[in-house]
C-alpha cells in the first residue's frame, strides 16, 4: 500500500470517527448554550438507545424498526432527564448543574447494570453495516461510509434548522441571551425541550453507529464517547454549534494522527496525549478555537 493510499485510509477513519464525535458534541453544545449545563448523562443516552435497539433485534424485529426504536428511546430518555432532573434546578449555579448531571449518569449506569448485568453483549449489526469495500489495497468499512454520509446529511438538516426555522433561530437566540429570549416572547421551556430532543436523537444515531462499529454494548459504553464529546466541544468552543462540529472532526483527526505518529511504546498513552493537547490548546485559546478571545465583559 502506498503512502498515499495509507493516508486516504486513515483519513476516512478520522472523518468517520470525527463525524460521530461531532454529532455527539452538537447535542452537548445545544444544551450547554442555553442552560450552561454540562450534561454528563448525554453519554448514557447512547447506551439507552443501543439497549433498546438490542431488545428489539433480539425480539426478531427488522433492523430499521430496531434503529428507530433506539433513536426514539434515546429521545424520550433525554426529555425525561430534562423534565425530572434539570428543570427543577434551572437557575442554580453552573457547578450544581454539572454535579447533578454526574448524579444522573451514575443513576442510569447503575440502573443499566442492574437490569442488564455489567457484561458486554454482542450487537448484531445488519449486513450492510458489517461489510467492507475493497478499492485495490484500500479497505473501507461500510459502517464508516454510513457514518460519514449520515453525519453529512444530519449536519445539513441541522444547519437549515437553526438558520431557517423559527424554533431553530429561537434556540440560537436563547443560547445567546436567555433573558432577552424570554422577554421577546420565546417559550423557553419549549425551546429547551427541543434542544434536548434533538441532542438526544443525535445521541441515539451515534449509539447505533458506535455499537455497529464496536460490535458490542455494555452499561458503561457511554462514558468514553461523552468524554470525547466534551473534549470536542471544548476544542471548538463550548456552546458553539459550528465549534462542536469543528471540534469533533479536529479530535477525530488528532486521535488518528497520534495513533500513527506515536512511537510503538507510547501508543497506549494516546488518550493521555489527547488530553495534554487539549490542555495546551486551552492555554492559548481558553474558550476553544471558535470561542471568543475576549476576556469576559464586565
Amino acid at each position: 500500500m502506498t503512502d498515499f493510499q495509507f493516508f486516504i485510509q486513515q483519513a476516512i477513519n478520522a472523518i468517520s470517527i470525527g463525524s460521530l464525535y461531532a454529532l455527539m458534541a452538537i447535542g452537548l453544545a445545544m444544551v450547554f448554550g442555553i442552560l450552561r449545563l454540562i450534561n454528563f448523562a448525554h453519554g448514557d443516552l447512547i447506551m439507552v438507545g443501543s439497549y433498546a435497539a438490542l431488545l428489539l433485534l433480539a425480539a426478531g424485529a427488522p433492523f430499521w424498526v430496531a434503529a428507530l426504536a433506539g433513536i426514539a428511546a434515546s429521545t424520550i430518555a433525554g426529555l425525561i432527564m430534562e423534565r425530572v432532573a434539570y428543570r427543577p434546578i434551572r437557575g442554580a449555579p453552573d457547578v450544581a448543574m454539572l454535579l447533578t448531571s454526574f448524579a444522573v449518569t451514575i443513576l442510569l449506569e447503575n440502573a443499566a447494570i442492574l437490569l442488564f448485568t455489567p457484561t458486554a453483549r454482542p450487537f448484531p449489526a445488519p449486513a450492510f453495516l458489517g461489510t467492507a469495500f475493497r478499492f485495490g489495497p484500500l479497505r473501507v468499512a461500510s459502517v464508516d461510509l454510513v457514518a460519514i454520509s449520515v453525519a453529512g446529511i444530519l449536519l445539513v438538516l441541522l444547519t437549515l434548522f437553526v438558520t431557517r426555522t423559527q424554533v431553530g433561530v429561537s434556540m440560537r437566540a436563547a443560547s445567546q441571551d436567555l433573558l432577552a429570549a424570554r422577554l421577546v416572547g420565546i417559550n423557553v421551556n419549549a425551546v429547551i425541550a427541543y434542544a434536548f430532543a434533538i441532542g438526544s436523537m443525535l445521541a441515539g444515531v451515534v449509539g447505533l453507529l458506535w455499537s455497529a462499529r464496536v460490535g458490542k454494548i455494555d452499561p458503561l459504553m457511554g462514558f468514553y464517547p461523552v468524554l470525547k464529546a466534551f473534549v470536542a466541544s471544548v476544542i471548538g468552543g463550548l456552546g458553539s454549534l459550528p465549534g462542536a462540529v469543528l471540534g469533533g472532526y479536529v479530535l477525530g483527526i488528532l486521535e488518528i494522527l497520534l495513533q500513527g505518529l506515536l512511537p510503538e511504546a507510547l501508543t497506549p498513552f494516546r488518550d493521555g496525549f489527547v488530553f495534554v493537547a487539549l490542555i495546551i490548546l486551552l492555554l492559548f485559546r481558553p474558550n476553544g478555537i471558535l470561542g471568543s478571545t475576549e476576556r469576559e465583559k464586565i
Binding site: Q166, V169, S170, R172, D177, A180, V184, G185, I186, N187
Partner: protein, 237 residues
C-alpha cells in the same frame, strides 16, 4: 390599562418591592423615577413575568399578569426593552428585529414593520446584515427598542434606555420615545435621568427603596423641592 396593586416582591429574604401601586392609562407616558436600587427594574421585570410577586396583583386589560407565563404576557402586547440592551449578539440586526416579532402570525405586516423601524432608526437599516455584537452601544439600544417595537406593543416598558449613552444618542432615543407616545403607544418609562424623563412624560412616580413615595403629574413632580434637590440637580437659583 395597567394597574399594579400593592405588589410585594422578594429576592430571597430581601424585600425589594414593598407594596407598589402604579397605574398607567391608555396612551399615557408614565415614568418611574428613583435612584439605583429603588426597585424600578424589579417592577418592570415583575410586570413582564420574569419575577413573581409574593402578593399583590398586576392587571392588564382585565388579565392578571401575575398568573400567566412571560410569553403569554408578551402575546397580550406587554413588551419590555430591558436595562442593558440585551440584544442577541450572535444574530444579525435583521434576525434580532425579526425575533421581536416571534409571536406574531401576520408575516406581511411583520415585514412592513421592519421597514418602519428602519425608518425610525436609519442606522439599523444600514446594518441589517451585521451581527449585534458589532454594533456600538447606542446602536444596540436602538436595536433593542426596535426589536420591542416589532412586537407591535400595546404597552411598552422601557428600562433606562439612555443609560451609558452619549448625549447625542440620548437625544435621538428620547425623540423616538416622544414620537411613539404621539403615535398613541402607551409607555412605562424607567429612568434615572429624571430631567429628560419629565420632559416627555405625562405623569410620574418616585420610588425609593421599594416604595412609591410620590406620584403626580409632571408639573407636580417638578415643583416638589425634594424631587428637585435629589433628582433634578438642585434648584435653578
Amino acid at each position: 390599562m395597567l394597574k399594579l396593586e400593592d405588589v410585594h416582591v422578594y429576592y430571597g429574604q430581601v424585600h425589594a418591592l414593598k407594596g407598589i401601586t402604579v397605574e398607567v392609562q391608555e396612551g399615557e407616558l408614565v415614568t418611574l423615577l428613583g435612584a439605583n436600587g429603588a426597585g424600578k427594574s424589579t417592577t418592570l421585570m415583575t410586570v413582564s413575568g420574569i419575577l413573581r410577586p409574593r402578593s399583590g396583583r398586576i392587571i392588564f386589560e382585565g388579565h392578571d399578569l401575575t398568573k400567566i407565563s412571560p410569553y403569554d404576557i408578551v402575546r397580550l402586547g406587554v413588551i419590555q426593552c430591558p436595562e442593558g440592551r440585551h440584544i442577541f449578539g450572535g444574530l444579525t440586526v435583521r434576525e434580532n428585529l425579526l425575533m421581536g416579532a416571534v409571536q406574531r402570525r401576520d408575516r406581511n405586516d411583520v415585514h412592513k414593520d421592519l421597514g418602519w423601524v428602519c425608518s425610525l432608526f436609519p442606522v439599523l437599516g444600514e446594518r441589517l446584515r451585521q451581527t449585534g455584537a458589532t454594533l456600538s452601544g447606542g446602536e444596540q439600544q436602538m436595536l433593542a427598542i426596535g426589536r420591542a417595537l416589532m412586537a407591535r406593543p400595546r404597552l411598552l416598558l422601557l428600562d433606562e434606555p439612555s443609560l451609558g449613552l452619549a448625549p447625542v444618542i440620548v437625544q435621538t432615543i428620547f425623540g423616538v420615545t416622544q414620537q411613539l407616545h404621539q403615535r398613541g403607544v402607551t409607555i412605562l418609562l424607567v429612568e434615572q435621568n429624571a430631567r429628560k424623563a419629565l420632559q416627555v412624560a405625562n405623569r410620574g412616580y418616585l420610588l425609593e427603596t421599594g416604595q412609591v413615595v410620590m406620584s403626580g403629574t409632571v408639573e407636580e413632580l417638578r415643583a416638589n423641592p425634594q424631587v428637585e434637590r435629589f433628582y433634578l440637580g438642585g434648584s435653578a437659583e
